[in-house]
């Protein structure tokens, strides 16, 4: 085996309900701004709940009118975030070997919102616009990012529901470490859709008010949408070209719960396996973990199971490590959640500022973590873990570290 190549993050991009562009997103996160509110992407009046973390500003002026007509909302958000990330990384595609630059994203719902419109027209006997018909297939965004920026390397789309983007980051890391690519644009873009909004409502998993992760009175999740893009790059190469290195992607763990399609393993054993596998792959110990960006959906089951999982993996340290859920501000961005949460985690590692869990009032003995209630905090963070747990029992944790000499 050749020596493992290390992977660093050289660019970030974000499109979210609390700000588009990484700077605006980060300011809002630290200020505890809530993006969960009434929305008008479709008419929510006949659903059980009426709020969501909807994006109101997609910075897609760089796309032509014809491009926008062809593309789904998820495509436009993903391209806007990718453009920001590539510019931040200072990557000039015309001076690179495009065959060494890949695109590996997580997706699932993707452009389903547009496909639903076509489907409804069809069900009612009409003819929809063919350009919108297959927008729900998540690989479209991956192809579009490669198309827009001229990349010819490996392309892949991981679709494991709410851990999709976290697994995409892991695949991107492994592709670079194994020498299949030098740069991989990774992350994901996922938008609100009737299917997921109606689906989580049908399972009675949605809080009518903005969600309250780790709070004793939590009633369920809030659904959000976002695009989060990270540029992963082989470390030596990034140093040689003087790239702005933001953090190191130390490793990840991906496991099956083999427990239940929708319920988490309440013992925490399953989630704990993913976190332990991630720490092992990253070559760090439980004592090294300075921050956890929680999955923290605010469903009664997730937050207590995640608490148990953190205790499984981190032991006593779990109760002391700052552990926040930014879903309290942007909602659960489903297949993109692992991407946008990784963006926030990189920013935390880089700045030593920890975003809070907002809407937190009532401590829950089943969630006895330091969830950074309501106010951002400063603390040095050298090693951070971000969790993503999904339908199907697909559990993933990623480990992001500050730059080491």
């Amino acid at each position: 085996m050749h020596k493992q190549r290390r992977v660093v993050v050289t660019g970030l991009g974000a499109v979210t309900s609390i700000g588009s562009g990484v700077a605006a997103f980060w300011r809002s996160l630290l200020a505890g701004v809530c993006g969960i509110r009434p929305f008008d992407l479709f008419d929510p009046t006949r659903y059980r709940t009426q709020t969501a973390g909807a994006v109101t500003d997609i910075p897609d002026d760089f796309l032509s009118a014809a491009d926008k007509r062809r593309m789904s909302r998820a495509d436009r958000m993903g391209l806007a975030a990718a453009r920001e990330a590539l510019e931040a990384a200072g990557l000039d595609a015309s001076r690179e070997d495009p065959r060494r630059i890949g695109v590996i994203l997580g997706g699932g719902t993707s452009g389903l919102l547009d496909s639903e419109a076509f489907f409804e027209t069809h069900l009612r006997g009409g003819e929809g616009r063919p350009s919108r018909v297959l927008n729900h297939l998540p690989d479209a965004i991956t192809d579009r990012v490669a198309q827009r920026f001229g990349f010819e390397g490996i392309k892949s789309t991981v679709t494991t529901a709410c851990s999709s983007a976290a697994n995409a980051l892991g695949y991107a890391h492994d592709a670079i470490a194994a020498g299949l690519a030098d740069v991989v644009v990774t992350g994901g873009s996922d938008v609100l859709a009737r299917l997921t909004y109606g689906g989580f409502n049908s399972l009675r998993s949605v809080d009518p008010d903005p969600c309250r992760p780790f709070d004793r009175e939590r009633k369920g999740l809030s659904i959000g949408e976002a695009a989060g893009i990270l540029v992963f790059e082989e470390a030596e190469r990034a140093r040689r070209r003087g790239a702005p290195i933001r953090a190191e992607f130390l490793g990840y763990g991906v496991t099956s719960d083999a427990y239940h399609m929708t319920a988490p393993d309440p013992s925490g054993a399953a989630g704990g396996r993913a976190i332990r596998a991630a720490l092992k792959a990253a070559g760090v110990n439980a004592e090294d973990v300075d921050y956890v960006n929680a999955h923290g959906t605010a469903t009664p089951q997730n937050d207590s199971a995640e608490t148990a999982a953190l205790k499984e993996a981190l032991g006593d340290r779990a109760r002391r490590v700052p552990t926040s859920s930014i879903k309290s501000m942007i909602g659960h961005c489903l297949c993109a959640s692992g991407a946008i949460e990784a963006v926030a985690t990189v920013l935390t590692v880089e700045s030593g500022e920890i975003p809070p869990t907002i809407h937190y009032e009532n401590p829950d003995p089943a969630c006895d973590l330091d969830c950074v209630p309501n106010e951002a905090r400063r603390a040095p963070v050298d090693v951070a873990v971000s969790n993503s747990f999904a339908f199907g029992g697909n559990s993933t944790a990623v480990v992001i570290g500050a730059l080491r000499p």
Binding site: H136, D139, K155, S256, R273
Partner: protein, 373 residues
């Protein structure tokens, strides 16, 4: 990056056979599952043919009561993965964290998704059946397999057009080489769905009355058990074949357009040969990507002539089962069985197989398999 793992088991659940042995026998006998669509299937589409798995039943393996919990794709996948696991002789319970799964798909979840949306859109969101929602995710089949077979290892589903199966195989091989797992089920699953078919018909992908170039859609599940070679041998397994190389290439293009790009095809194939450390002359069997998209088929044939001179023995799997992400899994299973069969197709000549899998959106994969002994 040689020694990406050995194949110790295969699984096939398809219109051309419900076991790998049946599938392989009927494929070689020249049978095809492609048939004319019924008027109901065809509806307003211009497509004329399909390769559905008519009359499929998950019994006896999955009891009827239990089978109701699984969507069609999950039923296919559970059976195919059970077969691959059984043939491998691997004892999952001995170390469940070391065994995982990576499946490709282009359509998993389609049935549950359309059923759920039909009610939500035509009746009301309150009436939408919660029962269907968990199966709308494309990772339902792989996850149902992980629950059924009690796998605690890596679990991913990959969607990247037609080469999704080889993409999943690459993920599986990385899981082995990084030590995340010692054994990975790898393959792909698809279910035919009327609404998805309409979509592909509308974007011009399906062959039919108005279009001589295009694919015929199929369905089914195919899997191989890919194991770390040392760990397979130390437990006394007899590998059927070895995965020795994978090559990939991308072309920037519209997601639903084919990019008939000879340079990309050549880069994927030569990448696989180089990765395997073998020459073109070492390949005795070709499982082509050929799927009825004329421009793509022409470019593939051209590149094969350029690289190989006289093309190796060729089995066009998609002529028999149609095109889908799962077809890549069928090509893999075919390659493994051909390599492992002492009386087989490639007897006397070089016994390495090249699997090509190229899809819309500029996605190109190729893999080399070889005898394990």
């Amino acid at each position: 990056m040689a020694h990406r793992g050995v194949v110790t088991g295969t699984g096939a659940v398809s219109a051309l056979g419900r076991t790998p042995a049946d599938f392989y026998r009927r494929l070689l006998a020249g049978e095809t599952a492609i048939r004319p669509m019924t008027a109901e299937e065809r509806g307003v589409m211009q497509a004329t043919h399909v390769a559905r798995y008519d009359g499929f039943s998950p019994q006896p393996e999955i009891p009827a009561m239990k089978a109701r919990r699984f969507d069609r794709g999950s039923q296919f996948a559970i059976l195919a993965c059970q077969q691959a696991l059984r043939e491998s002789g691997l004892d999952v319970a001995a170390d469940p964290e070391a065994v995982g799964i990576a499946l490709g798909t282009g359509s998993a979840g389609a049935g549950a998704l359309t059923e759920f949306l039909k009610v939500l859109l035509l009746e009301s969101p309150e009436a939408a059946p919660p029962f269907h929602f968990p199966n709308t995710v494309a990772n339902a089949p792989a996850s149902q397999v992980s629950i059924e077979l009690k796998l605690y290892g890596p679990n991913v589903t990959i969607t990247q057009k037609d080469p999704s199966a080889l993409n999943a195989l690459l993920f599986a091989s990385l899981a082995l080489s990084t030590g995340r797992a010692r054994a990975m089920l790898a393959g792909a699953v698809d279910e035919w769905n009327a609404y998805y078919a309409l979509g592909f018909d509308r974007v011009g992908a399906l062959r039919g009355a108005k279009r001589s170039s295009g694919i015929v859609q199929g369905e089914g599940a195919f899997a191989v058990m890919l194991e770390d070679e040392e760990s397979a041998r130390s437990r006394g397994a007899r590998p059927l074949a070895r995965l020795s190389g994978i090559g990939t290439a991308g072309v920037p293009t519209e997601p639903y357009l084919f990019a008939p790009d000879a340079a990309a095809v050549e880069r994927a194939v030569r990448g696989a040969l180089e990765d395997a450390g073998v020459a073109a002359g070492d390949v005795g069997l070709l499982l082509p990507s050929r799927n009825g998209v004329s421009e793509m088929d022409r470019v593939e044939a051209e590149v094969v002539r350029k690289i190989f001179g006289r093309p190796p023995r060729t089995i066009a799997v998609k002529d028999a089962i149609g095109e889908m992400a799962a077809a890549g899994g069928a090509q893999l299973v075919t390659a493994v069985r051909a390599i492992a069969d002492p009386q087989g197709l490639v007897n006397g000549g070089p016994r390495r197989a090249l699997v090509n899998s190229f899809g819309a959106g500029g996605n190109f994969f190729a893999a080399i398999l070889e005898p394990a002994s």
